[in-house]
Amino acid sequence: MSPSLKQTTEPDKVRLRIYRFDPAIDRAPRYDSYEVPHTPRMRIMDALDYVHETLAVDFGYRWLCGSKKCGTCAVNVNGSPKLACWEEAQPEMTIEPMDNMTVIRDLVTSRDPYEAFLAKLQPLVIRKREYSGFPEPLTEADVASAVHLRDCIQCLACQSVCPVLQQPDSGFAGPALLVALSELSQDPRDEGDRAKMAAKEAQVFKCVSCYECERVCPVEIPIVGEAIEPLKRLAYREKSTPGARRAGAFLDSVKKLGYVNPSEVALKTQGITWNGLRLAFRMALRGKIRLTDALFKRPSPGAETIKTTYDAGESR
């Protein structure tokens, strides 16, 4: 019947440069290089195991399942996070711990900040009504919108590349936590105030929609479209946060003028701030805006029609 091995172009060797750093001993990281034979269909983890087992090197790396279930084996390979047990070994690999995480030793990083933040989000179904007993009334359609979110294995690859999380004290939850929160918020059984959590605790509006998280997700969750944006729509109800005010001001502006007036949106989101004024002067100086823009701009001739159509669309 069918052949089991399709790969005919596999290389015969794999060269690895492994990041070595023991915070207790080393002043700076170093890289150790190894060459290992390529085995059929080799994964990154097979190469690491070879170094550990056959070459008997005692470097630190973590894995707990070898089958894309535990989510503990992600490492940076040539600069991008990969699930070691899942992705193919490359002929040349520089292997480092994931970015933006505290190194315990070599490739092993701490998951503690993630766990601590997760706990703040009350990550189990919050029930106000008595649980009605198994099986509770629920259909596949009721939970269909979160079907991909349930695949998350908490590998934290997305957290490691999120540019907002990389900023100190961003206060932002990050994509993996938003996936968890979003799944709960889309669960018809959940009665927690997820809107408030998304807005205040998780600060979902700090997401810049860069899609870096989706790029690296090994289980291919459409994180922005299916986890984050549904949460933003929930958090939009919490009008007191800047993100929700911005979205509202943006829409108001387009409905009023037929186009968006950035100065007005900025003013309504932030109020009058020193930074805002400085920026406005700077831009006005080069004719990018007029200082009066924030308060007055002329509607485009089609503004009325645009508003009518948007209202019709939104109300559906």
């Binding site: 069918s2 994964r43 090197v57 790396y61 092993v108 099986p135």
Partner: protein, 567 residues
């Protein structure tokens, strides 16, 4: 001075059994502490659970099939049948509500009916077949954290402490930081599982070095039926790290078909519905069939045969099976291509000799729950039940009794043993080499056993113990995540567990289930439907047997040729 933490109940292991033990003990009001060698809810074999059995008492026929499966096919008449009755109750009333309350979604159809595997016995999946374990464990983990129960993750229990009569806690090594401490407990629950990485190919994962079995051996606890060791047959051969990917020969969601096995000539030699329709987990039968193919030169234990779902509609596989992704990742087509397989050392039927009513072991103060016990093979649901029984019994007892002192001397001895491995140098073998050697010995022993090859394995293990272990040298003496240090401790545990397993095998003079002795090629229910018990006291191995009652479902034949039996 070593730090000492006090607790009522210490739970060792964070799989299905350990997590439920912690929750149920806490429900009783006991102070509970948990130690997990891996990460809570992300380690052990519980995350591998593809689906969970759905027990129903409403349909007599299905219930009869379930019982027949449990007793005959799954446990080869070695289960505690009274336990099965209680576990059945639990599965019917508590297991699913407990998890659903936390938010697990068991797959429904568009009308809201539970979707289930429609075989002689029924099973449910959370989300998809193959994804169930991680989802269930994730909810338990969140619940344990929510309750603020202290959990020591990436910490390995290295020994059990006694006061001479009773187990009163354990020593722990936090291998992230190299901190050694004592947990002083009124009662201790061992829940370290039964899927260990003891052979070159195994479903057990990296940290699973049978520590629980080894500690029990060293503490003088009784162990039963360790030789009843399952092997998976349809597990991916390449890549090596995917040896835990399983092409389910057991009933699938959405179809009445299962994976099939093909020998090197492309001839189908096994499928569940034809060859063992009563067995929802037909591994022992698969093994026997494969053994015939191997003997005939049409397959090897490590390859030369294939498995696949190519006779099933690809859409069905994609809809319900998590591992459909294995094919796509390899650039294969699940509707057409087959994957080469090898056997893997799988779950151990046996374990600590327990009284399954309360999960007490032969040592007072020590309970065993889940795969590490000997009363039932395991499974996510049964392990959870064990956790509940052990958790409640240990908690109630702890709340009613005082704390017994532990021996400071024993702690000092253990500390010396553990830190004794922190020797760097290049004048001796690395610990990982000892581990690899032990796995090779057990792999070579393999499925087909006899007095001679078991004696040879025993001698080989002894050589590792005497010649390799004393000379082990590490690359570094760091206490931060020192892989070599962990490997050294693992190797010692593996030696004790493997030795106990082989000795136990030598004692059993028959073949049964996945245990095949060429020199005793028949099932002997008259003499060997029993717990085959070993223990080590002051360096001496002792053995005895303890009969197993069959009040509900006795075996049909008292003796039959092994290759004619279907269980």
């Amino acid at each position: 001075m070593v730090d000492v933490l006090e607790t009522d109940v210490l739970v060792i292991g964070g799989g299905a059994a350990g997590t439920n033990a912690v929750l149920k003990a806490a429900d009783r009001g006991a102070k509970v502490t948990m130690v997990v060698k891996g990460l809570l809810g992300k380690s052990g074999c519980s995350i591998f659970a593809a689906f969970t059995p759905y027990f129903q008492k409403t349909d007599e026929e299905i219930r009869r099939n379930r019982w027949r499966f449990m007793i005959r096919y799954y446990n080869h008449y070695l289960a505690d049948q009274e336990y099965c009755a209680r576990m059945e109750d639990y599965m019917c009333t508590e297991f699913y509500p407990d998890l659903e309350r936390l938010g697990v979604y068991w797959r429904r159809d568009a009308e809201g009916r539970l979707e289930m595997v429609q075989a002689r016995t029924r099973s449910l999946v959370a989300h998809k077949q193959g994804a169930t374990g991680p989802i269930l464990m994730d909810k338990r983990r969140r619940e344990i954290f929510r309750r603020g129960i202290p959990v020591y993750e990436e910490c390995a229990v290295t020994s059990l402490l006694t006061n001479g009569e009773r187990v009163v806690g354990a020593t722990v090594l936090d291998y992230r930081r190299g901190r050694f401490f004592v947990i002083h407990a009124k009662n201790t629950i061992l829940a370290t599982g039964h899927s260990d990485y003891l052979a070159t190919r195994a479903t057990g994962t990296r940290e699973q070095s049978a520590d629980g079995i080894a500690m029990a051996v060293r503490t003088g606890a009784e162990l039963a039926n360790l030789e009843i060791q399952w092997w998976h047959v349809s597990d991916v051969l390449e890549p090596k790290s995917w040896m835990r990917y399983h092409l389910y020969p057991n009933p699938l969601m959405g179809t009445l078909e299962t994976s099939r096995l093909y020998n090197s000539q492309g001839e189908m030699f096994y499928e569940q519905k034809t060859h063992s329709p009563g067995a929802a987990a037909p591994y022992t039968e698969q093994l026997r069939r494969l053994a015939l193919e191997v003997a005939a030169g049409r397959a090897r234990w490590d390859g030369g045969y294939h498995s696949g779902y190519d006779h099933i509609r690809a859409e069905t596989i994609n809809t319900y099976q998590h591992q459909a992704k294995v094919w796509s990742k390899l650039g294969l087509d699940v509707g057409k291509d087959r994957i080469e397989c090898g056997i893997t050392w799988h779950m151990r039927h046996g374990g600590l000799n327990v009284n399954a009513e309360r999960m007490e072991t032969s040592l007072p103060g020590l309970y065993a729950a889940g795969g590490v016990g000997c009363h039932y093979l395991g499974g996510f649901g049964p392990a959870s039940f064990d956790g509940k029984v052990a958790g409640e019994a240990a908690a109630d007892d702890a709340l009613a009794s005082g704390r017994k002192p532990f021996s400071q001397e024993a702690v000092a001895v253990e500390e010396k043993r553990v830190f004794g491995f922190l020797r760097a140098g290049s004048d001796g073998p690395r610990p990982i080499q000892a581990k690899l050697r032990i796995r090779q010995i057990m792999w070579d022993l393999g499925y087909v056993k006899n007095e001679r090859n078991m004696q040879a394995a025993l001698a080989a293990l002894q050589a590792v113990r005497e010649e390799t272990v004393p000379r082990l040298r590490l690359q570094s003496t760091t206490r931060n995540w020192n892989t070599g240090w962990m490997d050294a401790l693992d190797a010692c545990a593996m030696l004790d567990a493997c030795e106990a397993t082989v000795r136990s095998g030598l004692n059993r003079k028959e073949s049964r289930g996945p245990f095949y002795r060429e020199d005793y090629p028949y099932v002997d229910n008259e003499n060997w439907m029993c717990r085959n018990i070993v223990k080590r006291m002051n360096g001496e191995w002792q053995s005895r047997t303890q009969p197993i009652q069959a009040p509900y479902l006795p075996p049909e034949k008292s003796r039959e040729p092994f290759f004619e039996a279907d269980y």
